[in-house]
């Protein structure tokens, strides 16, 4: 059975917003609903490097478990059972 990616919770995941003179930008209500935000929810703003663009800001809820979130992010970056081979291939490129 083919697995389908879950549909995004918003129709347009990209919006243009304007940076105000007091350094504020508005979060579209659809985005806030998709992120299940309510007033006073604590969020993390993280500056990330976007090659070809410069820098961007990721706005996200604080992970309940950083280790679980990082494991999820890193899952699949190397073929199963081949993490060592993946690293060795990259390091051998230096020789």
């Amino acid at each position: 059975m083919a697995l389908r990616k879950p549909a995004l919770a918003v129709e347009e995941p990209t919006r243009e917003v304007t940076f105000s003179s007091n350094r504020q930008v508005g979060l579209p209500s659809e985005f806030a609903r998709a992120m299940k935000l309510s007033p006073q929810t604590k969020l993390l703003e993280v500056l990330v490097r976007l090659p070809g663009v410069g820098y961007g800001v990721v706005l996200m809820p604080k992970p309940k478990s950083y280790s679980a979130a990082l494991r999820e992010a890193l899952s699949g970056i190397a073929p199963a059972g081949k993490a060592d081979q993946f690293i060795k291939t990259l390091r051998d490129e230096w020789e």
Partner: protein, 132 residues
Amino acid sequence: MAADESDPRHDCASWLLEQIANGRFECIVSTVTVSELLTGAVARGASKAIATQTLLRQYPHVEIAPVTMDVAADAADLRVATRIGLPDALILATALVSGAEVVLHGDAEWTTRVSPLLTRPRLVDLNAVCGA
């Protein structure tokens, strides 16, 4: 290895990640290692690349250590003394310059070539301690 449930070191590495997040250990990660992780993430698409970069930048009790002139100098010394590869030498030199107490690794070559020459930091091979 923590992200791969088929890896025999998975449980051990996951436990370590949890302990670091909880502040039991302070962790230093070389930018060389970060670039390796991000290479894999970028190859899997933009969302994985951004998620990985975002989490690495804010992971509690983790410092991302750059390759500085001091690191370069120590890496050159290690490279010549041990004949390990240059990226390995840069990572180990990062630990030396940062004053790390322990280096966690998964490379038997480090144990045989580097351990006899270093008293600090102590090299710990996850393959040996995690039952791989």
